[in-house]
Structure formats: structure tokens, C-alpha cells
């Protein structure tokens, strides 16, 4: 068995994540342009494209934000190139201004846009329901139930997109994107990229006033035709669960089923497992195309059903349409779901919740009650220490915030307007700090309002990727309107939180292509910020003074804290052959003030014998931040044990010098 290579045209089947299967489906569909901005749970789509784009001749941008990504993909499809764009749920909020108009104008070549919801907000700031985007924009939307179906739907979506000249939306959820399974794939007929000719194929994609009204008319007609197109319904089906197994089913009263379940997406799988346990009969409507809704199929499905439960996550989307389809013709039908409280609009579903809901409706006996088991086992982990995510060992953010806290003295005296990135963890212990933190770029808009309304000074915190994503308009606004605020820009060279992708402020562009680095100072000056301070987050003590000064001044003051993301930095550092030089705590000298632990929480530091802190040499990267907090000088670089200097070694060149200073046999390990 050789490992599956997504680039191999004849690769047949393999265990893979849905996000990879989606990319394979794009390649099989001959997608030539891909644009995206990272965001969980879609990031592996971007990462996979980045890995293969050079080999497969796919033109790819990691865009500045989701709106630009969508416009890039649609621009390519307008002139005649198949394109794909993926984004997380909240990304569509950024992109949707464009989406609604693109629905009017349509596209020439296939264009599929994936938007991934995150019920339970595992890694998002809200658990919004993206299905309404399909309904609201009148665009067809597909909702897969497993990785195989996600793969098939992408391929289908391209055919649909080109048949009707429309963008097709694929809506997933975290449990689909991050699910791995064996996926069967097909032969790939790969073609090399060539530019399309626009001049001879020109058409107009403008929408305003009369043109917009025409576009809307055309859109209504298109979505109507899709609703009537029976080829479109292959992902919508009726099935029978006969108490033991799943069978193909059809509409109609004659099958003897009186209990029905309507569902889609991941919930479909929970339904089937619940039924296998409850061993009851049910007629199932599995909806794969959730916009336009299959109204005729729904009516056929409802024939003869007395009790129906609608099983879906988040809002009562299917339920709303089914209830309205049932109105009048099925007056005796009892519909259960969100509105009856059998299922919650909060969080995700799972087999136990669905099993209980179905049992509550049907009176079926629950053979094994998972939720009771959970209750009885609940106490087993009582008193277990929590393990929330923390800043990594060597993370520049820890140093920046330590310095900021020291510069302020009392952290309560400012309004801290935080943004979205790894630094969002500022709100967690040990800092437990942030007055607000909403969505990408909002640190600046909120700061403007706070500056207008509150007595306190405002400090906005924003990462480099977020600065370019949605921070710039807020900054321009603050400058123009003469606001007073300190803007702390955390320039760690990458979009760290999602896995260290490039962004407009980095030298690389997608796939290692050379990009043009947008200089943050240059951008600041360009929009009229002249008060710029640059600090080194690894030099905590030295950063306090300049921060204090900047905080005292007025107008928009920018403090750029520049230090590379530790994961990103040390991955390249190690690849270059250099090894990290950890710090250690002199057990004799330590007086246990615990400054290196309290309010610091580095994953490399724990308590050893006699409760003296110890540094794990395989976690510590030698950033030296903790050494600066120790009043007794007991934290030092292990370099001193090997004849080196007591300082930070974090460039390969520095390490090289250290190596020269040590004899071969004494070489610092790890």
C-alpha cells in the first residue's frame, strides 16, 4: 500500500479528512483558481491547496479577507475559469455584501463557495446558522452528511453551477469538515492552466437600479427552475428504517409508516444511529439540497405521517419550511423539533440527544441511556485540573501583555478593546483581561465608540493578519475623526491561530510564491499615524518605558510589538539545523516568589521538588522572557553551562556562534 496522494490522477480511495476530499473533488472538477482566507473548520482546505497548487497548476491567493477571496474566485469564474472559495461561517458575514449581488449577476464558469458553520462555537465567536445565507441570497445550497457526500456534492455543484450560470453554496459544519473516513475518488483528467480570452466573450456583470432589478428577476427565475429540475433532487431522498435496517423508500401513504423524521447534514447520521438503538420504524426524509427546498418531495413524504420530528442543528431552518409546506394540507400532522423544545437551538447534536428526542416523541424505550451514563460518570473527573489553551512557550504575545500590564500598573484603568487571533487568549488566565473582543477588526471601531463615550483611555489590540483583514477601515476612521487611542499591533509575521499562514504583511504569498510584503509602519504613515513605537516582546523590561510614554500621549498612537510566532519561528529554526537552547532555574538561588508562574503560565514551567519551579528542557525554546521576571537572577540560559553567554539564542546565526564557543562533546542537546 502506498500512501494516497491527492495529486495522483488515478488514486482510488483512501482514509482522509473531508477537507481533503473536498480539494480532491475540486481537482477532479478541474478547478483552476482558488482563493480563501483561513478559518476553522475550513483551514485544511486552504492548507491542502497550498501544498498542491504549484504541482497542479492551480492559481491560488490567500486573500486579505473573505470578501476579497469571494470576489477573486467569482472574478475568475466571470471571465471563464472554474474557481473555488472556502470560508468559515463568520467569514460569510464579511463576504456577503458581495455575495448578494453576485447572485444577481451570475457567473460564466463553475464557481462553488463553501461556508462552514461551527455549532457549539468550538473555534468561532458565534454559532450562527449559515443556511439562511442560501435562502436569503436565492442561491442553491447543498448540505453534505459525510466526507464522501461532501466530495460528491462539490463535483455535482460544478455541473449545477454551469448549467444555471450561478454560484453554488456548499454548507458544512465542523463535524463534517473535521471528519475523516474512507472516501472513494475518481479518475482525474488534469489539464494545465491557460488564461481565458475575455475580449471575445465579454458580457456585463453590473448590478444597480434597473440592472439590479433585472438581475433579481433572472435570479428568481433561475432558483425556480432549479426547484423544478428533477436532476437536482438526487441528494434529496426518502428512506425507510424498518426497525433494523435502512431501505430505499418513496413518498406515499401506502407504506404503512406513520412516524417521520426530516433531517440533513451531520444530523442524518445521528438519526440513523439513534434508530438502530431504538429499533423503531421511521420514514426518513434526508435533504441534501437545502435551497431551494424540495417542496413537492416534502408533501409526498408527509402523506400518512402522524408524527414528524425535524432533526437539525441550530435554528429551525428545515422545520420552518416543512411546517409551512404542511400548513393546510396536513392539518392533523404533529411536528416536533426546536419549537416544541424536543431539541435545542443551542450547540450541536449527537446520538444521545437525538435518541432521547425521538424516544420522547414516539414513547420508544431507550435501551441504554447515554445521558444517564454521563450523569453517573460525571463525578469521575471531579477536581481534575482544567487545561485551557495557553500561549505557547516562546510566544511573543505573553511578553507583550506582561510588558503592557507593567506599563499600565493598574490594568483596570483603561478600556482594553481586543480583537481575534491567538491574543484572544488574553481573556483567559493568567491575564483574564479584555473588556471586549467581538469579531475581526472590531477592536478599532469599538475603540472609537468608547473614546467618544467613556472617561477612560482606550487600548486596542490587534494582530498583523487581522490588521490587514478588517483593521484598516477602523484605523482610517479613528485617524480621520481625531480619536484618542493606543493601538497595539502584534506583528508575529503570520496568521498564527489558524496554523501560521502567510498574509499581506509577509514576504511569502500562497504556495511559497514571492509576495510583496506590506510594511505596517508604511501603512500606518500612509493613513496619517505618525506616532509609532516599535518594541521587542522578548525584551519585556526594555519595552515598559516606551509603552508608558506612548500611552501618555494623545491622538492615535501605534505600538508595534514585533516578534515571530514561536511555532513558526522555531519550526524554521530547527529545519535550518539549529537547536533550541533552553533556560533553567538555579535551584539553589530560587527564593520562590513564583513570578515565573503567577500571571505568566508558560507551559514549560512547573513545580519540582520542594516546590521550586523547574523548566522542561524539551518544551522551553529559550525565549528568556521568564528570566526577566525573576528578581533573584535564578533563571538562566543553559548556554552558560556550556561556555556560552547568558542570553537568548533565537536566530540560527546566534546558535551557530554558541556552537563555536562550545566543544563538540559539550554540544547542547535539543
Amino acid at each position: 500500500m502506498s500512501p494516497y496522494d491527492i495529486r495522483d490522477p488515478s488514486a482510488q480511495r483512501a482514509y482522509m479528512m473531508a477537507n481533503e476530499a473536498i480539494v480532491r473533488a475540486c481537482l477532479e472538477s478541474d478547478v483552476k483558481v482558488f482563493a480563501s482566507y483561513p478559518g476553522s473548520p475550513t483551514t485544511e482546505i486552504l492548507d491542502t491547496f497550498e501544498r498542491i497548487c504549484n504541482d497542479m497548476d492551480v492559481r491560488m491567493d490567500i486573500s486579505a479577507n473573505e470578501k476579497v477571496a469571494l470576489e477573486t474566485a467569482v472574478g475568475a469564474a466571470m471571465v471563464g475559469c472554474r474557481s473555488f472559495c472556502s470560508m468559515k461561517s463568520v467569514g460569510m458575514n464579511v463576504a456577503s455584501d458581495a455575495l448578494y449581488v453576485m447572485a444577481y449577476t451570475g457567473v460564466r464558469s463553475g464557481c462553488v463557495v463553501l461556508l462552514a458553520d461551527d455549532p457549539h462555537a468550538h473555534s468561532s465567536q458565534s454559532e450562527q446558522d449559515g443556511r439562511w445565507y442560501g435562502y436569503n441570497s436565492y442561491l442553491p445550497m447543498l448540505d453534505p452528511s459525510d466526507p464522501q457526500e461532501a466530495y460528491e456534492m462539490v463535483k455535482f455543484a460544478y455541473a449545477l453551477s454551469e448549467r444555471y450560470g450561478t454560484i453554488v453554496l456548499l454548507r458544512t459544519t465542523t463535524r463534517i469538515n473535521h471528519q475523516s473516513a474512507v472516501v472513494g475518488t475518481s479518475e482525474m483528467r488534469w489539464t494545465s492552466f491557460s488564461k481565458v480570452n475575455w475580449k471575445d466573450n465579454r458580457r456585463n456583470y453590473s448590478a444597480v437600479g434597473e440592472l439590479a432589478r433585472k438581475g433579481k428577476m433572472r435570479l428568481l427565475e433561475t432558483i425556480g427552475r432549479i426547484a423544478d429540475d428533477t436532476r437536482m433532487t438526487s441528494f434529496n431522498r426518502i428512506e425507510h428504517f424498518d426497525g433494523y435496517a435502512l431501505k430505499k423508500g418513496g413518498p406515499g401513504r401506502s407504506d404503512g409508516y406513520t412516524f417521520g423524521i426530516a433531517t440533513s447534514g451531520i444530523s442524518y447520521q445521528y438519526v440513523l444511529e439513534a434508530l438502530m438503538r431504538l429499533k423503531i420504524k421511521a420514514r426518513i426524509l434526508k435533504i441534501g439540497m437545502i435551497n431551494p427546498m424540495p417542496v413537492a418531495l416534502i408533501s409526498g413524504f408527509l402523506e400518512g405521517i402522524d408524527d414528524l420530528i425535524v432533526v437539525e442543528e441550530l435554528s429551525p431552518y428545515l422545520e420552518t419550511f416543512i411546517a409551512s409546506a404542511a400548513q393546510g394540507s396536513f392539518s392533523g400532522l404533529r411536528i416536533y423539533g426546536k419549537r416544541t423544545g424536543h431539541l435545542s437551538e443551542f450547540s450541536e447534536l449527537d446520538v444521545p440527544l437525538v435518541q432521547r428526542a425521538i424516544a420522547n416523541v414516539t414513547g420508544a424505550e431507550i435501551p441504554f441511556d447515554h445521558l444517564e451514563h454521563l450523569k453517573s460518570m460525571g463525578s469521575i473527573a471531579d477536581g481534575i485540573p482544567m487545561r485551557p489553551p495557553v500561549f505557547c512557550a516562546g510566544c511573543p504575545h505573553r511578553g507583550t501583555f506582561t510588558a503592557l500590564r507593567m506599563a499600565l500598573g493598574d490594568k483596570g484603568k483603561v478600556y482594553l478593546s481586543n480583537d481575534i487571533g491567538c491574543y484572544t487568549m488574553l481573556v483567559l488566565p493568567p491575564f483574564s483581561w479584555s473588556d471586549s473582543q467581538l469579531c475581526m477588526g472590531s477592536s478599532l471601531g469599538i475603540a472609537a465608540g468608547v473614546d467618544l463615550a467613556a472617561e477612560e483611555d482606550v487600548v486596542s489590540v490587534i494582530g498583523d493578519s487581522t490588521f490587514f483583514h478588517a483593521g484598516l477601515p477602523g484605523l482610517v476612521n479613528a485617524v480621520h475623526n481625531g480619536h484618542d487611542l493606543t493601538l497595539l499591533i502584534l506583528d508575529n509575521s503570520v496568521t498564527a491561530m489558524t496554523g501560521q499562514q502567510s498574509h499581506p504583511g509577509t514576504e511569502d504569498a500562497a504556495g511559497g510564491r514571492k509576495g510583496i510584503k506590506i510594511d505596517i509602519e508604511g501603512a500606518l504613515r500612509g493613513v496619517g499615524v505618525s506616532d509609532i513605537t516599535v518594541i521587542d516582546p522578548f525584551q519585556i523590561r526594555k519595552s515598559i518605558g516606551p509603552m508608558k510614554e506612548a500611552l501618555k500621549r494623545s491622538g492615535v498612537r501605534a505600538i508595534i510589538s514585533r516578534g515571530e510566532c514561536a511555532l513558526y519561528h522555531f519550526r524554521r529554526y530547527r529545519r535550518s539545523g539549529a537547536r533550541t537552547v533552553p533556560f533553567f532555574i538555579d535551584q539553589e538561588k530560587c527564593r520562590k516568589p513564583y513570578n515565573c508562574i503567577k500571571d505568566f503560565m508558560c507551559p514549560a514551567i512547573s513545580l519540582g521538588p520542594d516546590r521550586i519551579p523547574v523548566i522542561s528542557p524539551h518544551i522551553c525554546v529559550g525565549c528568556g522572557e521568564c528570566a526577566q521576571l525573576c528578581g533573584f537572577g535564578s533563571i538562566r540560559s543553559t548556554a552558560v553551562l556550556k561556555g556560552g553567554e547568558d542570553r537568548v539564542y533565537y536566530t540560527p546565526e546566534d546558535y551557530g556562534k554558541l556552537k563555536e564557543a562550545t566543544t563538540k562533546s559539550e554540544e547542547v542537546e535539543r
Binding site: R175, E273, H370, M377, R387, P389, C392
Partner: protein, 208 residues
């Protein structure tokens, strides 16, 4: 394969939890065993708690193991084993590393006087045993170091999993999946780590 075999992999961000599930997943694929896994990526990777659900068998459909139906918890860190033990069926099996990684939050509580002492491996194992679980503690870190690479501790655990009764996938298939899943230059070390993990647990099970 009839029925289901459910494994929950867990550990601390950075330990290679996802790779463990990928190796077994690939091995299942090579033997035609239906397998699905549910994982979470994102914030939880920053030294936080990480877990992956994996389910094998013809009837499995949900990527999440229903509470009380998990056969094995395979843990790279014992506190994490205990954290997810509520997924286990009564009498389920825990194969865990005995090497505790103390959460920074716990260390901070201790120095602030909010907590008496660290949770240790013995606390974890006795809590598990008293709830009727079968617990095998091994030290994958030492084994991995002996194999030649401390980072191979996840592969040691995969080897241990293969020694368990009930695992539907063959040792041979997992062996090739390890070879296919690790960087070429660490292949030899990882295969050694795999064998050593297998041997370690086999010995415990008195098979050898």
C-alpha cells in the same frame, strides 16, 4: 466487521494525538474496515486538551462516540485519560501514558494556595479503577527515547493499542500504516517504537 469498536485518543496539544488516529484510520482503510473519526482543530492545539473520536465497524455513522460506548481510551497523558473517561463503557479499557504533564493553570493554582498539590498518575489510575475501568499505564516517553526519538511516543501508544484484544485491525496493517504516515527519515525509529509499544502491552497482557 459487525458492531463497533470505539477508540478515543487524547493528550495535550503538540503530542501528536491526531497522527495516532490517522495511522489506525489508514490501516483500517487498507483492510476494508469501515472507519470514521471526528477531530477538532483550532484553538485546542495550544498546549490545550486534544481528543479524537474514532469508530470502526459496519454500523458506525456518527463521528462522535456516544457516552458510555467507548471501548478504549488511548491517552498520551493520564489527566486527559481521566478527563474523557465518561465516554467509556463500564469495564472499558484505558491505555495511558504514566507521564503527567501538569497544566500551567494547575501550577498557578498551587503557587497561589488555591490547590494543595498536583494531580499525579496514581490519582488518575485509582479514580479509573474505582469506576470499574481496566487500566494499563505505560511510559511511552522512555520507550520512545529508547527507540531513538522521544517524539515517537504517540507511535509507541499505537503499538500498545494493537496488542489489545478486540481491536479489529491487524498489527501488520498498522505497521505499514506507521511506515506510510511518518517522515521518511524517522521511519526506522518509528517502526521500532511501534514494535516496542506492542511488546510492552503484550507482556502486560501476559501474552508473552
Amino acid at each position: 466487521m459487525k458492531g463497533a469498536f470505539n477508540v478515543l485518543y487524547c493528550g495535550v496539544g503538540g503530542q501528536g494525538v491526531v497522527l495516532m488516529a490517522n495511522i489506525i484510520g489508514r490501516a483500517c482503510a487498507s483492510e476494508g474496515i469501515k472507519v470514521i473519526s471526528g477531530e477538532l482543530h483550532g484553538l485546542s492545539q495550544r498546549s490545550g486538551s486534544v481528543h479524537v473520536h474514532q469508530r470502526m465497524g459496519d454500523d458506525v455513522r456518527s463521528p462522535l462516540i456516544p457516552y458510555g460506548e467507548c471501548d478504549v481510551v488511548l491517552a498520551l497523558e493520564p489527566i486527559e485519560a481521566l478527563r474523557y473517561a465518561y465516554f467509556l463503557k463500564r469495564g472499558g479499557t484505558v491505555v495511558t501514558s504514566t507521564v503527567v504533564i501538569h497544566p500551567p493553570a494547575e501550577t498557578s493554582m498551587i503557587v497561589r494556595g488555591e490547590k494543595e498539590r498536583y494531580m499525579e498518575y496514581e490519582d488518575v489510575s485509582s479514580a479509573l479503577v474505582s469506576s470499574g475501568m481496566i487500566v494499563y499505564g505505560i511510559d511511552p516517553l522512555s520507550i520512545a527515547m529508547e527507540a531513538g526519538e522521544p517524539q515517537a511516543e504517540n507511535v509507541v501508544m499505537v503499538g500498545a493499542l494493537c496488542a489489545l484484544e478486540g481491536s479489529p485491525v491487524s498489527k501488520k496493517a498498522v505497521f505499514s500504516a506507521v511506515a506510510d504516515s511518518v517522515p521518511a527519515k524517522t521511519k526506522e525509529v518509528n517502526l521500532r517504537a511501534f514494535d516496542m509499544g506492542y511488546l510492552e502491552l503484550s507482556k502486560r497482557l501476559r501474552k508473552l
